[in-house]
């Protein structure tokens, strides 16, 4: 390769398109974040830096509504992500360390089903289901729907991690007379922790962000952050919505960065 006069891999302009790609991805978010600090009730002109819209979110006229929505969102996300992660950890153990079996492919098809069915279709189906069995729509119906579609998101990082762990560790444990249960809880589970944590965090964000399914299965008057934001945006983008959005944005970025750092730290060990 050294003998050639030009770099055979490089194409001119590709770096510019990459930068353009990142600009397209980040510019709208950055501008909304900047305008959330605008000291003006108008979203058109810039009148200097201020925290007033953040204050407005916490103590303003609509604060009660947003606090309740945030509380619902976080409670649902924490429970849904926890349950989905436990289910996904069990499934991954069976799939990766349970040998080959006949229903393995079918099981994986079932686990990835929420990724293949369009979200709006899942939303309609879930609404019809709850309606036909007479299940009251509210926080509980949202929670059940979220658990189902969070499973594949926690499964994928957990299964990937489990695949990377040699089975010699458990064999050694069992040679030393550990039971299978002990080998699982004392050896496999701690080794899988990075995968489990990133699976949990991803499921948590997916639940926190969901709009379409929540919008269908929530009862009247029950709101999560996304449905509350959507309702408010329908009447026009106001600065307090931009402040909420910016906080949610910052929160998601922190969570993903955490998940990334955790999965990266285990690469080195």
């Amino acid at each position: 390769m050294g003998s050639r006069k030009y770099n055979i891999r490089a194409y001119p302009g590709f770096i510019h398109l990459t930068v353009l790609c990142l600009l397209i991805l980040y510019l709208p978010l950055a501008i909304v974040a900047v305008y959330s600090f605008n000291n003006s009730p108008s979203i058109v002109v810039w009148e200097g830096f201020s925290w007033r819209w953040y204050l407005d979110v916490f103590i303003g006229l609509e604060s009660a509504k947003f606090k309740l929505a945030a509380k619902n969102s976080f409670i649902i996300a924490i429970i849904a992500a926890t349950v989905a992660t436990v289910i996904a950890t069990f499934s991954a153990t069976a799939m990766i360390r349970g040998g080959r079996f006949r229903l393995r492919t079918v099981s994986f098809g079932l686990i990835s089903l929420p990724l293949m069915v369009p979200e709006i279709v899942t939303a309609v189906a879930t609404l019809i289901f709850f309606n036909s069995i007479g299940f009251e729509r509210g926080v509980l119906s949202i929670l059940l729907a979220h658990i189902a579609f969070c499973i594949p998101f926690s499964y994928l990082p957990i299964a990937a991690r489990m695949q990377g762990i040699e089975d010699t560790y458990e064999e050694a444990a069992q040679d030393l007379y550990a039971t299978k249960r002990q080998a699982f809880t004392k050896i496999l589970l701690p080794l899988m922790m990075p995968g489990i944590i990133s699976g949990f965090l991803l499921a948590f964000i997916i639940s926190l962000d969901d709009f379409i399914i929540t919008n269908f299965v929530k009862g009247a008057g029950v709101e999560t952050l996304p449905t509350a934001i959507f309702g408010a945006v329908k009447q026009g983008i106001k600065p307090n919505i931009m402040a909420i959005s910016t906080m949610l944005l910052a929160f998601s970025i922190v969570m993903v960065t955490l998940s990334y750092l955790i999965s990266k730290s285990d690469d080195k060990t």
Partner: protein
């Protein structure tokens, strides 16, 4: 996404073979009860009679599909001639999703190629930067795009300031805004599979092409692109499929004129004007389209695997 390709991950051992039934039971229960049964129930609902104020009457009826495909005149008593209203909405969705996929491809290919040819250490950072926006709330991303494109928004301001246009352009509530919104929503889905394909690409092939006096662009067109085609196809599917059933982008950026399948379905379940069997039928038609695309893709993949070995 890598897990999807390798069918749930490779089998590592059979240590827990005795308890695998119990270990899989919670996932089976949850997904059968909360996804499989509801989707089957939706199929049943699409063949029921509509209740006046939402919901259904348990009486078999083809009315929902008839309404979708048949125009029976003002009084509903004429013989069936093709109803274009809903087919047009589906066709528009396919067109919008297709254009969004094309835009994504044009931007993503050079981006993915550029990232995959970086040294290992910086590659991870570029990839991380591309994936972060995917984890940001889709609603917030769509709202921020609406903020950007509105009449007195930043995009118009910059264009007027540079002097490209004299008066602000109407960008919100156009089909262009929907395409941009879909493009923005699913761009990372295109970059990642193409990146994975370029990373596996054997660059000695480019060397060989150059040795045989191929120019860079001939190499790109005749060697690189054919080799990474599976990644390109995977990316197109990952963008096209969710775009087809998208709700937020057409709703917040497109307005009433740019109605897509998602909005049509949503409308049937909101308020009293809704028609549940019709909404279920439209969902079934959307689901069938997606399943056909995924089946064709799976078949093409297994064929490619068979040819490769």
């Amino acid at each position: 996404m890598a897990g999807v390709a390798s069918k749930g991950g490779e089998v590592r051992s059979d240590t827990y073979r005795d308890s695998r039934t119990w270990l899989l039971l919670p996932a089976w229960l949850t997904l059968v009860v909360l996804v499989l049964v509801p989707v089957s129930l939706m199929l049943v609902y699409s063949f029921l009679t509509k209740e006046f104020r939402g919901g259904v009457v348990w009486e078999f009826s083809l009315a929902a599909y008839d309404q979708f495909f048949c125009d029976r005149g003002l009084f509903g008593d004429e013989p069936c001639s093709i109803e274009w209203n809903y087919i047009t909405i589906f066709w528009r969705s396919i067109w919008q999703a297709g254009l969004a996929t094309l835009f994504c491809l044009i931007v993503s290919f050079p981006t993915a190629y550029f990232i995959a040819t970086r040294p290992q250490s910086t590659r991870v950072i570029w990839l991380f930067l591309i994936t972060i926006p995917y984890w940001v709330n889709l609603l917030i991303r769509t709202v921020s795009m609406r903020f950007m494109l509105r009449e007195e928004g930043p995009v118009n301001n910059v264009l007027v300031w540079i002097g490209i246009i004299d008066d602000p352009l109407q960008m919100i509530n156009t089909s262009f805004a929907v395409q941009i919104g879909l493009f923005y929503s699913y761009l990372p889905f295109m970059v990642l599979p193409i990146y994975a394909a370029v990373e596996r690409y054997n660059f000695t092939l480019s060397e060989a092409a150059a040795d045989l006096y191929a120019t860079k662009y001939v190499t790109l067109r005749r060697v690189i692109i054919p080799s990474i085609q599976p990644g390109i196809i995977a990316g197109c599917i990952l963008v096209f499929v969710p775009s087809l059933g998208a709700f937020l982008a057409p709703d917040l950026l497109g307005g009433a004129k740019n109605f897509m399948i998602g909005s049509l379905i949503e409308e049937q379940f909101k308020g009293n004007a809704g028609n549940w069997p019709f909404g279920a039928a439209a969902s079934m038609i959307l689901l069938s389209m997606v399943m056909i695309i995924l089946t064709l893709y799976a078949r093409q993949q297994s064929k490619a695997l068979g040819a490769g070995s």
